[in-house]
């Protein structure tokens, strides 16, 4: 089925007002009408264009998973738990400074730092937290700047808006660190390159993060402000089950909140997401449950493999095998997200044949619903 591209009006009714918007930012920043502000996508004026890039690249409008998989990997979408995989590893940075600022193993910072040093990229687009922990998008062009961006904030951040705002004639080669929904949108952009915007071919490296859900920036930030002295906080973390807590690290110790108290800030749109490990990235990075200070890394493309190889050679990363029980657990968690999401989609649509935005092979659907 071919996608029927519609306009901003339909984007609003079908996605944003329908509660499917993940704040990925793909629709924002590319025109004067759609902008993101405090955790919402806002339409500033009416746009009469019947077929717009906002609708075209949204990861919650019609998405043909096979077509995207063909685009990125040259193979159909398998529906496997972790998506297309060349290799699964366990890694951590060898650099003390990076390890100090890192959420887990500092792998993302190390890889980007290497890519910058080797001249493979000119900059990286990622999220950065201000002193009072408001997330925003940032273009880092040095290791120092990368270090400022290290650490998870758990809040949705419209990273792709920054991509849309890069000048048309820019020749900067870029890496993008993003969530699964953002990478889906990015893949759509690579499929049908945007008009009158930066050449999407300038995106040379896509680093995906593992994601179960994201928190609504406005509501959750308000909660943090009310309960913490934010400039004092150095790090946030959600330790693996059975801890069931959200932690804020301060110089005087960790402050924790029951995860159940945080769940009300989960973006409702996350319930409809099938991707936990950023399946269309070059490299996907996450934590290793039970093993502090290391990252799980899924290498998916040649670009990703080359970078890992270079990192090993140059001694930037310590690489090890991911323990089998961690791999099994990761697959289980990822599969569970797919199943839940598909259930939510079908419950909402009321029809097993109507998967709202996603197009999957029947065999995959059957397998996930079994």
């Amino acid at each position: 089925m071919d996608m029927k591209v519609k306009g901003s009006k339909e984007l609003l009714t079908e996605v944003i007002d329908a509660g499917l918007c993940t704040l990925c930012g793909a629709c924002a920043g590319g025109c004067p009408y759609l902008v993101s502000y405090k955790g919402r996508i806002v339409l500033l004026d009416s746009c009469t264009i019947s077929q717009g890039q906002c609708y075209q690249y949204c990861p919650r409008t019609y998405t043909d998973m096979d077509a995207i998989s063909q685009q990125v990997f040259g193979t159909p979408y398998s529906g496997d738990e972790l998506g297309a995989t060349k290799e699964v590893l366990m890694t951590r940075s060898t650099d003390a400074r990076i390890k100090e600022s890192a959420q887990y193993g500092g792998t993302v910072t190390s890889l980007l730092s290497l890519a910058l040093e080797e001249g493979f990229i000119d900059g990286a687009i990622l999220t950065k937290m201000s002193d009072d922990k408001t997330p925003s998008v940032f273009l880092a062009q040095s290791t120092e700047e990368l270090l400022q961006c290290a650490g998870s904030n758990y809040m949705a951040c419209p990273v792709l808006q920054a991509l849309n705002q890069i000048p048309k004639d820019s020749e900067q080669r870029l890496a993008v660190v993003a969530m699964p929904c953002q990478i889906l949108a990015l893949s759509k952009m690579r499929q049908e390159p945007p008009q009158d915007r930066m050449n999407i071919g300038n995106v040379k490296l896509v680093v995906g993060l593992f994601c179960t859900w994201a928190l609504s920036p406005d509501g959750f930030h308000q909660f943090l402000k009310e309960n913490l002295n934010l400039p004092q906080v150095t790090k946030f973390d959600i330790p693996p089950p059975p801890a069931n807590i959200f932690e804020a690290y301060t110089p005087s110790g960790k402050i924790s909140f029951p995860l159940d108290e945080i769940r009300r800030f989960v973006m409702p749109a996350c319930a409809y997401c099938l991707d936990m490990t950023s399946e269309f990235a070059d490299i996907s990075v996450g934590s290793v449950e039970g093993i502090e200070g290391w990252n799980t890394v899924i290498v998916r493309t040649d670009v990703g493999a080359q970078l890992i190889e270079m990192a090993k050679e140059k001694g930037k990363l310590e690489v090890d095998t991911l323990p089998p029980e961690n791999l099994a657990h990761l697959k289980e968690a990822s599969l569970l997200k797919k199943k839940r999401a598909l259930q939510e989609i079908i419950t909402r649509s009321g029809d097993r044949k109507n998967l709202l935005y996603v197009s999957l092979q029947q065999s995959i659907i059957d397998r996930l619903l079994a």
Partner: protein, 644 residues
């Protein structure tokens, strides 16, 4: 402005009705003139102001119409003839004082001119102020020509002194703003001396200028009206033209007299239709009217706006002896003429033709057909919009963005001024309530107290700088006192712009052009304990951010002043534009995704023109004033501004 002060008695000038009224006041020897600008009355005061110094009298723009009337009354009490002029809404504002003043009587001649605006060509509402004459017992005259506008005004001062009552002149847009022949009279040369003598002639211990004891004074007032009626019976302002016996008698007055004359002529009915013209509208010259009622069985009442004469004359007819003939009335009650909107010769032609069962063709049918076949697309309508370079366009752009970003369905309450156009595309449909002066701030007060009923929408009241002084200050103080949650945005363009850039208390210049203390709006608000931000609307980013912060707040009201001079004033003074603006066609995206003609389709400055052939935006140099704001709107940076 005009030659109202020309010392050339006997010469014929081409005056607008307002100038004629001003001339009439000059010929009557006024010493004081006061007004608040209001279309269609403004030129009365403006032309008086232009000759005040030369002719040795005092003229002022007052802060509002109530004070204007009080100023004129004060002068009258001290023996100085005074005139005050205003639009219909102004009389509403002055009405409380007026209702009291009629009780006491006056000193020297005092005349109130009300200029009504049928069809609200330039007003917030449509209202027929002749009714106030009946309501408050005020003698009222209505000119039908420009000559009469002068002659009636001049006479009104004598009439006022003879009756010891304020007298009213009622005019409408089509007399006030139309131009016609006025033969000038002599200008008086005598000096005026002011002295306040407060002894009541009847009861020496009571002051003269009080409205008490009202019931007794009310009966005295009725006696004055009876005297006026007597005088009006033989007034030269009432006359009849037409046959002794008419198939149709038109009773009319004011602007409608010329329409009726023209209509009868167009239908060639001069021998069949008579026209009774009334100039003394209240009290009605009863005997005079009754005399002419017998001229026809059919009477057509032609007047603007309400069936005022119609109803009043029917009252007369009801009191006629039982055997007197009862004519058939045609007019607003019968539905032959609309009781709303302004009239014109074509409408009167239509009514007469229908009553007389005639057909009327103004031009050959084939021509009409040809004319009607012109495609609608050949004549695109011109929607009213802000002038090129107007600060309001930028202000409402910032307001629109701030409210959308805020996301709580906030809205703007407003009132009447140039910025009223914000109810439409000119101001991006932002203004959602619009009534009289200061109403935006007042209504916002009510909305700002609804938190207990689950109300969370940010309320943004707007008012102009002149409006602020006229009416919004009490509403603002009410908000402070009663802790109402709203933001007042004062659009400070340093002028009473809509009516012609008159000065006001904030400008530091009087009507007569003298420097004076400028009332500092910002300091005034701060002294009330309010948070005040001042922004340049052309700095869109800062304005939007300031507004966002303001509407996010809670508690009582806060003020944001959007300050930038009216472009028309600036343009006339500094001939040079600040920027030269052009469009870089290579960068312009036009209709493509990423723009969709934001500048021409949404922002809508008249200086931005869409060239459908090239598919690009362009700047019309003959219209663009070089403000440069559009350069900040364009998403591609295709609009370039270069400092001149």
């Amino acid at each position: 402005m005009s030659g109202v002060g020309i010392d050339a008695p006997g010469s014929t000038q081409l005056f607008i009705g307002n100038e004629a009224i001003a001339r009439g006041a000059l010929e009557a020897g006024i010493g004081v003139a006061s007004a608040y600008p209001g279309t269609p009355s403004t030129e009365i005061m403006a032309s008086l102001i232009s000759v005040a110094k030369e002719k040795n009298f005092y003229a002022e723009w007052s802060v509002n119409e109530k004070v204007a009337l009080e100023v004129a009354a004060g002068a009258s009490f001290a023996g100085i003839r005074a005139i005050t002029s205003m639009k219909q809404n102004g009389v509403n504002v002055a009405s409380d004082f007026l209702a009291n003043l009629v009780m006491s009587g006056i000193g020297a001649g005092l005349v109130l001119v009300s200029c009504d605006d049928p069809s609200t060509l330039s007003s917030s509402n449509e209202q027929d102020l002749r009714n106030i004459a009946k309501w408050l017992d005020i003698p009222l005259l209505e000119p039908a020509t420009f000559q009469e506008a002068k002659d009636m005004t001049k006479w009104a001062f004598d009439l006022a002194e003879e009756l010891n009552s304020i007298c009213m002149i009622r005019s409408v847009t089509r007399i006030a703003h139309a131009r016609g022949n006025v033969r000038l009279g002599e200008l008086p040369k005598k000096e005026q001396k002011a002295h306040f003598d407060s002894i009541c002639p009847v009861v020496p211990t009571l002051p003269k200028f009080i409205s008490y004891p009202s019931a007794w004074l009310h009966s005295q007032l009725h006696a004055k009206l009876d005297k006026a009626r007597e005088l009006f019976e033989s007034s030269p302002f009432n006359w009849y033209t037409g046959p002794e016996e008419a198939e149709l008698l038109i009773i009319t007055g004011g602007s409608c007299w010329l329409y009726s004359l023209e209509a009868v002529k167009a239908l060639k009915l001069e021998n069949k239709v008579g026209i009774l013209k009334l100039g003394t509208i209240w009290p009605l010259p009863q005997k005079f009217i009754e005399l002419h009622l017998s001229k026809s069985q059919k009477i057509l009442m032609v007047e603007e706006i309400d069936p005022f004469l119609e109803g009043s004359i029917k009252e007369l007819v009801a009191d006629l002896p039982p055997d007197a003939p009862r004519p058939t009335f045609y007019g607003k009650h019968s539905g032959h003429i609309n009781a709303y909107g302004e009239l014109n010769p074509d409408l009167v032609i239509e009514v007469i033709a229908s009553i007389m069962n005639l057909t009327y063709e103004s031009r050959p049918a084939e021509y009409s057909k040809k004319a009607e076949e012109i495609p609608f697309t050949y004549m695109p309508p011109r929607i009213m919009t802000f002038c090129p370079g107007c600060p309001h366009r930028a202000t409402f752009w910032a307001i629109k963005n701030a409210l959308r970003l805020d996301g709580r369905d906030g809205f703007v309450t407003g009132d009447i001024g140039c910025y009223t156009l914000a109810i439409g595309p000119a101001g991006f449909f932002q203004m959602r309530t619009m009534y009289c002066m200061g109403a935006g701030a007042g209504v916002a007060n009510g909305l700002g107290k609804l938190g207990q009923f689950g109300f969370t929408q940010p309320v943004l009241a707007v008012c102009g700088d002149s409006t602020f002084f006229h009416a919004a200050i009490p509403a603002l103080i009410n908000g402070i006192y009663n802790k109402s949650n709203f933001t007042l945005v004062i659009l400070d363009n340093n002028a009473t712009a809509m009516t012609g850039f008159q000065p006001h208390p904030g400008t530091g210049i009087t009507g007569m052009g003298e420097t004076t203390t400028a009332v500092d709006m910002e300091a005034l608000c701060r002294s009330l304990g309010l948070q005040v931000d001042v922004c340049d609307p052309f700095d869109l980013e800062n304005s939007t951010a300031t507004l966002l912060k303001a509407i996010a707040q809670d508690g009582g009201p806060r003020v944001v002043i959007m300050r930038r001079e009216c472009e028309l004033v600036r343009g006339r003074r500094d001939k040079k534009p600040p920027y030269k603006v052009h469009v870089d066609c290579d960068k312009c995206l036009g209709e493509a995704c990423g723009c969709d003609r934001l500048c021409t389709r949404v922002f809508g400055c008249p200086g931005l023109v869409w060239d459908s052939e090239s598919g690009k935006a362009t700047i019309d140099e003959t219209i663009c004033t070089g403000c440069g704001v559009c350069a900040d709107i364009c998403p591609q940076g295709a609009i370039i501004r270069e400092a001149v």
